[in-house]
């Protein structure tokens, strides 16, 4: 009997330690990012990160200002979000409220495919097809612009926005709809004036989760945004995002050098940005009962 109890206890503790692994990994991520980045504070000092020029490899003066990288990421993310919102939300409304069951059965998995396309393949497609198109369409010198990246990233955010918005729309109690219809509102009026407003916080959360995905996307933006570290809010210029900077430069950097540490600081800023976006949407979705407490 005692032996059995011991076994049960052992199993419980074993499973518990597996369960806490997620916490440990999150802590380790923060720990190791800071561990590699910390010496930068003493020399050359954190203030250098706030400069406006990113020029880490230079014989005269190395510059580690991450401002252009942050603005690059923000520009691409905002553009992508603006493009993704109508498609994501209208698509979600269409699939959950308008489409016939058979249509839904086709649409849902098909759009899921989009989420499964590897980012490097999407980037490749962007490089070969979308970039020349944008170059021609807007008569630019190069097709590798913030807009090109944003278009592709929008399509990456769409499946996230769609599926979570759809859940939010579905969780609107049907009495709302019935009451609206009983009062003489048409189906369309009910959808846009009752259902969507009722699901709005869930929809907003879905958009923020989509943004989290876009900010963190690396390969696609690295391949199609042109990688010029300049401060610009013009969609038709080449920009360089935080993610692309890390991916492109980490391979050639000496471990422990200032440049190496600066890249880890870029990683920390990126992590904090996505962390904030995720936490806010997590709170909202939890309030909605769409995530287990």
């Amino acid at each position: 009997m005692n032996k059995q109890r011991l076994k049960a206890k052992f199993i419980k503790y074993f499973l518990q330690s597996c369960g806490s692994l997620s916490i440990i990994i999150v802590l380790l991520i923060f720990l190791f990012l800071f561990k590699e980045a910390i010496p930068f504070i003493g020399d050359p000092g954190l203030g250098d990160l706030f400069h406006n020029i990113w020029n880490p490899v230079s014989f005269q003066k190395e510059e580690f200002g991450i401002v252009p990288l942050v603005t690059g990421s923000i520009l691409v993310t905002l553009l992508a979000t603006v493009i993704a919102i109508p498609f994501g939300i209208i698509g979600a409304v269409y699939i959950s409220e308008v489409a016939s069951p058979r249509e839904r059965e086709f649409l849902k998995p098909f759009i899921e495919i989009l989420a499964g396309i590897p980012s490097v393949v999407l980037g490749f497609f962007g490089l070969i097809v979308i970039a020349p198109l944008i170059k021609q369409l807007f008569n630019l010198n190069t097709g590798l612009t913030a807009l090109t990246g944003a278009v592709l990233l929008a399509f990456m955010a769409i499946p996230t926005i769609m599926s979570i918005s759809e859940d939010a729309i579905k969780s609107v109690p049907s009495i709302y709809k019935e009451a609206s219809l009983a009062l003489g509102a048409s189906k369309l009026e009910t959808i846009w004036k009752v259902v969507v407003p009722a699901a709005l916080s869930g929809i907003v959360a879905s958009v923020m989760l989509g943004m989290g995905r876009v900010v963190g996307e690396t390969m696609t933006v690295m391949m199609v945004t042109g990688n010029a570290p300049v401060i610009s809010m013009n969609p038709f210029t080449s920009v360089r995002t935080m993610t692309a900077t890390i991916a492109a430069e980490m391979g050639e950097v000496t471990i422990g050098s200032n440049h190496y540490m600066a890249l880890f600081w870029v990683g920390i800023v990126l992590l904090l940005m996505t962390f904030a976006l995720n936490m806010i949407s997590f709170r909202v979705l939890k309030k909605y009962g769409m995530i287990d407490k």
């Binding site: 209208i90 490089l127 690396t218």
Partner: protein, 284 residues
């Protein structure tokens, strides 16, 4: 009244149009890669070694490398994720600790892939001194797919009805016996399916392995887990952006993209078919 009807109709069609625009975009990507990629695929392309730095020859080492990374990721993440899910659904009570775990899972799911790369570089490659290797890459990817596996496994465990637990417990089985003999057999297919979907994502990821495992060209196939590997996504990235004759070797790029896409979507497809079959078999 009729005017209003027409207006509504137009709006419905607009909504339909916008939705199908997304569908058309996906179809365009798939067809474009299929049409341009298929002519490049041959027996030699699949099984041959790359020549002239990827401009000619095959992509066999890259396919093999990606498979190794995927297998390594599964070996690490699958058991851990499943145990973690079992703990959360069967053992955990509503507590601060459980809430912290949930928060950690959500956080982990939102960490950008390149940050996982930095983390893997700091922990596995440098601190634990595994070097840039299959081991480092698999461990990094395993951390990345862990939340997907946990969430999918939990869904599947939760779908096993409560009375199956209660019946077993009432007959005197211990908690673990109940889980092991009465819940897992029903939940396992669903757990596996969800996990495959998660791992499919890992197969296509480039950013984490860029810093922890991948090399563009290796003359020999890897012989141990401490060796660097070539990988399909990284291969495609280099061919498309870094190769001096990127424009001339388009067929090689399309071929690599198609193989990668086939691998990832194929994996998803298998998972979905598997799920449909299992659902038909186990119904209660």
């Amino acid at each position: 009244m009729n005017k209003k009807r027409t207006g509504e109709r137009i709006i419905y069609w607009l909504m339909r149009g916008i939705t199908y625009l997304v569908v058309a975009f996906i179809a365009y990507i798939l067809i474009d890669i299929l049409v341009h990629g298929l002519p490049a695929i041959s027996w030699e392309f699949i099984t041959g070694m790359p020549e002239k730095s990827g401009a000619e020859g095959g992509i066999f080492p890259a396919i093999l490398g990606t498979l190794f990374l995927v297998i390594g990721t599964i070996a690490v993440a699958l058991p851990l994720g499943m145990f973690s899910a079992i703990y959360l659904t069967e053992y955990a009570k509503q507590s601060k600790f459980t809430q912290t775990i949930r928060m950690a899972i959500v956080t982990l799911a939102g960490v950008p892939s390149i940050v996982f790369g930095l983390f893997g570089l700091g922990l596995f490659v440098i601190t634990l001194d595994f070097g840039s290797s299959i081991l480092s890459g698999s461990l990094t990817l395993a951390c990345m797919v862990l939340p997907t596996i946990i969430v999918a496994s939990e869904e599947s465990l939760k779908s096993v009805p409560k009375y199956m637990r209660e019946g077993s417990l009432a007959l005197g089985a211990t908690k673990w016996e109940t889980i092991y003999k009465n819940i897992l057999p029903y939940a396992l297919p669903g757990m596996l399916t969800g996990s495959i979907l998660g791992v499919g994502r890992a197969a296509g990821e480039t950013a984490p392995i860029l810093l922890t495992a991948a090399a563009f060209f290796l003359p020999e196939l890897p012989s141990s887990v401490f060796d660097q590997v070539m990988a399909l996504p990284y291969h495609l990235y280099i061919l498309a952006t870094q190769h001096p004759e990127a424009q001339k070797i388009l067929p090689m790029q399309y071929g690599t993209a198609l193989v990668l896409l086939f691998l990832v979507i194929g994996l998803n497809f298998v998972a979905i078919i598997f799920r449909i079959r299992v659902r038909k078999k186990y119904k209660w």
